[in-house]
Symmetry: C2
Subunit: 197 residues, 2 copies
C-alpha cells in the first residue's frame, strides 16, 4: 500500500525535523509555527499528522531514539570483539548527529520529570540498551575478551551508566569532551573487563 | 547587618521551595502563583525577591546545587580513605532529598539546552566537582588506596561520569536503582583503582 508508506515517511520526516529544532531551541522552542518557519514543511501538513504539540514532541523524542536504533542495527555482530565498545559509541555524542540526539533527549528530560509516560519511554530506552550490552559482555566472555568471573548484568549496568554520564556531560560541554576522549574512557573501561574483578 | 541576613535567608528559603516544586512538576509547573499556592510564601514576597520567572528558576537550580555543596562540605577530609566514594555519594540520589535535587537538575537540563547561561552553570558544576575528585584520587595515592601509576585527572573524569550516569538513570527509575546498588557500583569502581590500570 504505497500511499500508507508515503504517509509514514512523511510523518517520520516531520518528527525528525521537530527533533532537530528541539536540539537547537529546547522543547519550549518547538511549535507548529516555529517548525513550519524552519522550512521544509507547512503548518497544514504538521496539523494533518499531529493532533497537538504534545504528540509532536513525543514523536520528536522517538525520532532521536530511532536514529540511535539505526546506528545500533548497523553494528558488527556478537562474534566481533569490538561490539561492546561499539554499542557504547553508538549512543555517545561523537559527531554532530549524535550530539543533536543528546540535545533532543536532554530537552525531554525536563518534561519527563513531570510526565509519567515520558518517564516510561526513558526507562525502556535504558533497559533495552543495557540488555544489548549484557549480551555483548557474555559474548566477550565466550571470545575471551571479558574475564569469565565477571557478572554480565552488573558490568552492562556500569558500562551504560559510564556511557550516559559521558554523554550528558559532553552534551553540555563539547569542548571538554572531544570524541577521542569519550572513546578513550570507554575503551579503557572495556579493556579492564579482561581482568578479574 | 541582621536585616540583610534575614533577606538573604528569606530569598534562599523561597528558592528552596521553588526547587522542590520543580522536582515535582518540572520547570513548566513553576510560576509565582503555583509557588504561592504550594504554601509557606505569598506572591507578594516572591515578587519582592524575584524579578521574573527566569530569575526564580535560576535561583531554584542554585538552591539544589547549594544543598549538594552543603553535603560535600560535611564530608570527611582528604586523609580519610573513604572520601573518594563519599564525594560520589554526596551527589547520588540515595535518599529523597538527593533524588529531589536530581529531579530539579534534570528539569533544568531541558532549559540548559537552549539557554547559554544555564549551560555555563552546568559546566561549572561538573568541573568543580571533578576537581574535588582529582584531589581525592591524589590523596588516595598518598594513602595507598589508589595505585600510583593511575592518572588522577582521568580517573576523576571517569568516576564523575559513572556517578552522573547512575544518577540520571536512577532519577528516572528509582526502583531499578536502590541506594545499595548505586553505592555498590561506585564502591567497586573505587576499589579497582588500587590496581594498576
Amino acid at each position: 500500500v504505497p500511499r500508507r508508506i508515503d504517509a509514514d515517511e512523511r510523518r517520520r520526516d516531520i518528527a525528525a525535523r521537530a527533533a532537530a529544532l528541539v536540539a537547537r531551541n529546547g522543547t519550549e522552542g518547538l511549535s507548529f509555527r516555529s517548525l513550519a518557519a524552519a522550512g521544509g514543511v507547512s503548518t497544514t501538513s504538521i496539523t494533518h499528522y499531529f493532533a497537538d504539540k504534545k504528540a509532536l514532541l513525543q514523536s520528536a523524542y522517538h525520532a532521536a531514539v530511532d536514529q540511535a536504533r539505526v546506528r545500533v542495527a548497523e553494528l558488527p555482530g556478537e562474534d566481533d570483539p569490538g561490539r561492546l565498545a561499539a554499542l557504547c559509541e553508538a549512543v555517545l555524542p561523537l559527531d554532530p548527529p549524535r550530539s543533536d540526539n543528546w540535545r533532543t533527549w536532554l530537552a525531554f528530560f525536563g518534561l519527563a520529570v513531570s510526565e509519567p509516560d515520558m518517564t516510561q519511554v526513558q526507562r525502556r530506552r535504558v533497559t533495552g540498551h543495557r540488555a544489548l550490552l549484557a549480551e555483548a559482555v557474555r559474548a566477550g566472555q565466550r571470545l575471551g575478551t571479558v574475564h569469565p568471573g565477571r557478572e554480565a548484568e552488573r558490568e552492562a549496568r556500569a558500562l551504560l551508566a559510564l556511557t550516559h554520564g559521558i554523554a550528558v556531560e559532553a552534551a553540555f560541554d563539547p569542548d571538554d569532551w572531544p570524541a577521542d576522549r569519550q572513546r578513550d574512557l570507554v575503551a579503557r573501561h572495556v579493556a579492564g573487563l579482561a581482568r578479574p574483578e
